[in-house]
């Protein structure tokens, strides 16, 4: 059953993304000869004799070693593309503390990523050295003949220039991998407007070239510094293992005067820029192809297509990228396509049930109420956090302030919790919730989620003080992840998990009674963490950046934005287009969900530490749009509500909503929100 589902998902993924990725790789390989030609041309620069320069460069392009280099670099591009495909994420993983970042860097997957990129960088540098010719071409060169008669036998010497080139390639490859991680370049940002792929590529190309050139400059500078200090190690090592001599006549490169060679610097920079440009092109093409819209049919025309139609995909649990594409398609169809909207509003034949609309609206609503719950949890955590900190700071009380009292009646709580689930589930979240769904953002297969995190998915945090008030099984299940990213949780749960953690295997099924020893261990662990967290140096690594944890909460908000837009456009269109009145039945639930979310979001922006303005985004190649998703969410939420109220107007007074919401709705109707 599980296997079949995952097999089907993989087939779906391959079907939707397969061709696109192949095309992206093909284009990046096809663009390689052009880049190589530019590299050869610039590498031979002889500005005083332009004709000869151009003629020489073109002659070189047809030589066998350049063609071999192109083939080799195609393989490199292929490997880089495979890494791009394997490492992409639609929900960025944001390290909340410095330790989390270090943890990410030494994560095995990242180490493999870096190592492979370093090797690939070295390969590209070798190709670049071979194509540059001149003094860079070979690793072993005959030594300068010396005058003294005793060693007249020609000896092979190490060509330090070549070595310098190779090492710089490895360094730049490694730095690329590091920057890829730190800048979250595996994140796939979806564009704010739809454009053709060619236009998007053309728009980004100048930026890409500029970014690569500047970055190459910095990286080469850093490499020179590194080589100045540590350059003798690889030099000696290579010369001893390969039995090469070191030419005493030539000036060694790991000295100040050796590094001040302008030609060396230029060629290294050019090699770095070439490497970065080709790799970034592969990355950019992958991004453009992967985020292109995909047209999911609303109603299947053939029976085999049922798996690919929009309501089915939204309600099943596809890979996140598919879900994102489906929601994007929903947003587009609700906005631009009356024909497909009609299909959404249509009734099933036979039976006359609005299956399409029910499925779509249910999924959107459950997404939104998920977010509501997550925000409530985060706010509660922030409030509790503030309290705990204050007390710890002022009185130096034992760590688990609010948690201590609660620990006692734990068995009772866990029993009661099951009851509360059922009750609160229907009261707050009107829409039927899907029984099994992984939380967004916890894509378990994602390379950056640490293994310990995945094992913790089943663990619940039942004992927080807000526990009885509003809850749904969803929040409960993802309790630990709510206000912090996974790694932050393990390493510094100190402040935030002052409450002991209960473990419940699968909500909805039976709750496992926690063993006493386990809770005791948990408690001890908390105490140790709290003790450590007061030491200054450790605090430096453990302390959370508030901005980062807020970003982590909203990291998958793009989904919610699309759900909001899709839902509100559909509802607005239903005013004129919905013949059977299928939307009317869900209108109260939709309004309820939106208004509740609106309240919670409003409250979130009133929290301390939360800036109310987006930070300035410089127009750089690295996309940081995930940092501002919360502002986009706030704006689109308001717009969605206004879209509905503007179209329905006074008719909304007839909709069944709670008095508070009615008041809120009235404010929207009067344009006073």
């Amino acid at each position: 059953m599980e296997a079949a589902a995952s097999c089907r998902q993989r087939a779906l993924l391959r079907q939707v993304l397969g061709w696109r990725l192949a095309a992206a790789v093909a284009w990046s390989v096809l663009l390689l000869p052009a880049c190589t030609a530019a590299f050869v041309l610039l590498g031979r620069a002889q500005p005083l004799r332009p004709l000869r320069w151009i003629a020489d460069s073109f002659n070189d392009l047809y030589t066998s070693y350049v063609i071999f280099c192109i083939l080799l670099m195609s393989v490199v591009i292929l490997v880089i593309s495979i890494f791009n495909v394997e490492f992409y994420a639609v929900v960025p993983s944001i390290p909340c503390s410095r330790l989390a970042l270090i943890g990410k860097i030494i994560h095995p997957q990242q180490v493999i990523h870096s190592a492979v990129h370093a090797v690939m960088g070295m390969l590209v540098a070798w190709c670049a050295a071979v194509m540059t010719k001149g003094k860079f071409q070979f690793l072993a060169v005959p030594c300068t003949p010396s005058e003294s008669p005793e060693d007249a036998v020609p000896q092979m010497c190490l060509n330090e220039y070549h070595l310098f080139f190779l090492l710089s390639g490895a360094f730049i490859g490694y730095s690329y991998s590091l920057l890829y991680l730190i800048n979250n370049m595996n994140y796939l940002p979806f564009p704010i407007i739809q454009q053709y792929k060619y236009l998007r590529f053309r728009r980004s190309l100048p930026l890409l070239v500029k970014h690569s050139c500047v970055e190459s400059l910095y990286l080469v500078r850093n490499f020179c510094v590194a080589y100045y200090f540590f350059g003798y190690i690889p030099k000696v090592w290579i010369s001893t293992t390969m039995d090469l001599h070191i030419d005493r006549k030539l000036h060694p490169l790991d000295t100040l005067s050796g590094l001040l060679d302008l030609s060396l610097f230029y060629h290294t920079w050019l090699c770095g820029a070439f490497l970065l440009i080709t790799w970034y092109i592969a990355w950019l093409l992958f991004k453009i192809y992967a985020t292109e819209t995909h047209h999911f049919p609303v109603q299947p025309t053939f029976a085999e297509e049922t798996d690919q139609c929009l309501p089915k995909i939204l309600n099943s649990n596809p890979p996140l990228i598919i879900k994102f594409l489906a929601l994007q398609d929903l947003m587009l169809l609700s906005q631009y396509s009356p024909v497909r909207r009609q299909e959404v509003f249509s009734l099933s034949q036979p039976g006359g049930h609005p299956h399409n609309w029910t499925a779509i609206s249910r999924e959107c609503l459950s997404l939104l109420s998920d977010l509501t719950q997550r925000l409530i949890t985060q706010q509660e955590a922030a409030a509790a956090n503030g309290r705990a900190k204050q007390q710890a700071g002022e009185m130096k009380v034992p760590p688990q302030t609010p948690g201590a009292a609660v620990t006692e009646d734990m068995p009772f709580q866990s029993q009661r919790s099951n009851v509360i689930h059922r009750a609160s589930m229907s009261s707050l979240v009107k829409s039927p919730l899907m029984p099994s769904k992984t939380s967004p953002g916890s894509d378990i297969g994602s390379p950056f989620s640490s293994p310990a995190l995945t094992s913790k998915v089943g663990i619940l945090d039942l004992n927080s003080p807000w526990h009885g008030s509003v809850q749904s099984p969803h929040v409960m299940r993802r309790g630990p992840k709510l206000w912090t990213s996974g790694s932050g949780l393990q390493m510094n749960g100190s402040h935030h998990e002052s409450f002991p953690v209960l473990s419940v295997a699968r909500v909805g099924s039976e709750a496992v009674q926690p063993s006493f020893i386990y809770t005791w261990l948990q408690n001890k662990q908390e105490q140790i963490k709290n003790f450590l967290s007061r030491r200054a140096l450790i605090m430096y690594f453990f302390s959370k950046h508030p901005e980062a944890s807020i970003q982590a909460v909203f990291s998958d908000a793009q989904m919610h934005i699309w759900a909001l837009e899709g839902l509100s456009h559909l509802v607005a269109a239903s005013f004129t287009e919905d013949q059977f009145g299928v939307v009317q039945t869900t209108l109260p639930a939709i309004l309820n969900t939106l208004l509740t979310l609106q309240e919670v979001v409003d409250r979130h922006f009133k929290l301390p530490h939360v800036s109310s303005k987006p930070p300035r985004i410089s127009g750089s190649l690295v996309d940081t749009s995930y940092k501002t998703l919360r502002f986009a969410l706030r704006a689109s939420l308001k717009t969605a509500l206004y879209r509905i109220t503007t179209v329905f107007g006074e008719h909304l007074n007839a909709v069944q909503v709670s008095p508070e919401h009615k008041k809120r709705l009235q404010q929207f109707l009067e344009y006073k929100e």
Partner: protein, 512 residues
């Protein structure tokens, strides 16, 4: 085709168009009481009152700390670095070229002055291709703004809120005031960067977000509709700036909210802003030398982008591809869309006609196609016509400066600028009755005077005004001035507004 000759003669001087009743515009004296039917609705209208003085264009002083300090002569390299930071390469070259011969850098000086000459020659070459690039930014705004006399008139830009009775007015002193029927407070928006405002636009599907096109950037003001503050802090404004994108002369919000388009005559790209995140996407399309005017069709499917040369483009707003339309005589001055986005009316500088361009109906399935018809047709001829009235001859007609179509598609208002060479011609507002389906019809309806004449001498009296589309118009003692901008009009009601000395403002009313 309809021409000005078919219009009824303009109302006698000294009167103004008061209101529309039973499909007829009623003219009368300013102090006449209105029919009872209107009085309750008028109570909902905000009243514009401008201060008698203080509306002078602010002195354009260079804001900075430099004048406060005693001038100190620095070393050449230091000055060069400063110039490089302040003004880029050109500044650096200028600094070197103007350096005194103290260090004996003869050759450097010569080289930089020749490089500067080359720079100037290149820029003049560029300027000869696109003459507007040699204008100063204020002249450029004045040339491309939708206000008739941008430099001289008090009201530089005006915008009705698309949903409620609320409007924003940009004044000569670079402040923007927001008038709201439901509250007595009139927020006055000022910001360090808010200079030379060319356009204002309210965000649709939103209570109170206003975009202001300034000289160097776009400011997006987030106003709290319930706030009582009369001077919102500049912290309420988001600054959207992009290098090389200024002065901004036109703004257009997507009718579905969210996206904002901004255009500058010096930038060939127009920018699509995701305002909430301040992300922007450049829509580059070379040729034309810039973008002067933007109009987003009410159904959100297409955007008109006019350029300073004799070409305009129509973008399709889903995949953002465009169709290019060369015009014969001059640049496209203004344009407006029918409510369903299937018809574009536009005017061209130097011709006193209104063109119409129809588009195939938008279905959403035809991604990336604009679907315009082959040629534009002339639907109205507004060349100069002489009316024989009881009070003498009146000559009306000329180029259309600004045009708006009300959201129901029943009225079209156009500001007709009089011929500046003939003394008798005046600036008027022509209002047409329109119908878009099944067949497009443009019927002459009335001509409203542009507010000049006796109207102005009635100081202190409540001014009554014609239903000028979405526009406000304004008179001053010497000349007749109009400023117009977007807001829905009510074809049924002519509102009363504005009492101010020597100036009358007329404003439309949103649909009840």
């Amino acid at each position: 085709m309809c021409s000005l000759g078919l219009f009824p003669p303009p109302p006698p001087p000294g009167t103004a168009t008061l209101y529309e009743l039973n499909n007829v515009l009623v003219c009368g004296r300013l102090c006449e009481p209105l029919p009872l039917a209107f009085q309750s609705q008028l109570a909902e209208l905000p009243t514009l009152s401008l201060p008698k003085d203080g509306l002078k264009a602010p002195g354009r002083l260079e804001h900075g700390t430099r004048p406060a300090f005693i001038h100190h002569r620095e070393a050449l390299w230091k000055r060069c670095i400063n110039a490089w930071r302040d003004a880029g390469l050109c500044g650096l070259l200028k600094e070197i070229a103007s350096a005194e011969e103290e260090e004996g850098l003869h050759w450097l000086k010569t080289a930089s002055s020749s490089a500067l000459a080359v720079c100037r020659w290149l820029s003049s070459l560029h300027g000869s291709l696109f003459p507007h690039l040699s204008l100063t930014s204020e002249d450029m705004i004045a040339a491309f703004s939708q206000a008739v006399d941008w430099t001289g008139c008090t009201v530089r830009a005006f915008a009705w809120h698309p949903h409620t009775s609320k409007f924003a007015v940009a004044l000569l002193d670079d402040s923007v005031r927001v008038y709201n029927s439901s509250s007595a407070t009139i927020p006055s928006l000022k910001h360090r960067l808010q200079r030379n405002v060319a356009a204002v636009a309210w965000k649709p599907l939103c209570a109170s977000i206003l975009a202001v096109a300034c000289q160097s950037c776009v400011l997006v003001w987030h106003l709290d509709p319930t706030s009582l503050s009369t001077r919102p802090s500049s912290g309420c404004a988001q600054v959207l700036s992009y290098p090389g994108h200024g002065p901004v002369t036109s703004l257009a919000w997507a009718p579905s909210g969210g996206l904002l388009l901004s255009a500058s005559p010096v930038d060939t790209a127009m920018l699509v802003w995701d305002v909430s995140t301040e992300n922007c996407v450049q829509l580059q399309w070379f040729g034309g030398g810039g973008v002067t005017f933007l109009a987003w069709s009410p159904d959100g499917s297409k955007v008109l982008a006019a350029t300073p040369s004799a070409v305009f483009r129509v973008w399709e707003a889903q995949m953002w591809t465009c169709e290019r339309w060369p015009t014969i005589k001059g640049r496209c001055q203004t344009g407006c869309w029918s409510p369903d986005g299937s018809r574009l009316l536009f005017t061209v500088l130097g011709e006193s006609v209104i063109y119409s361009l129809s588009f195939s109906e938008y279905r959403g399935e035809m991604q990336g196609q604009v679907g315009g018809s082959k040629t534009a047709s002339i639907v109205a001829d507004l060349s100069e016509t002489t009316f024989e009235t009881l009070y003498g001859e009146e000559r009306i007609g000329g180029e259309v400066h600004s045009m708006v179509w009300d959201p129901t598609g029943e009225r079209l208002a156009a500001i007709i600028r009089g011929n500046p060479d003939s003394p008798g011609s005046q600036t008027v507002v022509a209002v047409f009755r329109t119908r878009n389906s099944p067949v497009f019809e443009l019927l002459p309806w009335c001509v409203a005077p542009g507010g000049g004449g006796n109207l102005l001498r009635r100081r202190g009296l409540p001014g009554c005004c014609p239903p000028v589309g979405r526009g406000g118009e304004e008179g001053e003692d010497a000349a007749v001035l109009h400023s117009s901008s977007g807001a829905p009009i009510s074809p049924r009601i002519a509102p009363v507004l504005a009492t101010l000395p020597s100036k009358t403002l007329s404003l439309g009313l949103p649909l009840p």
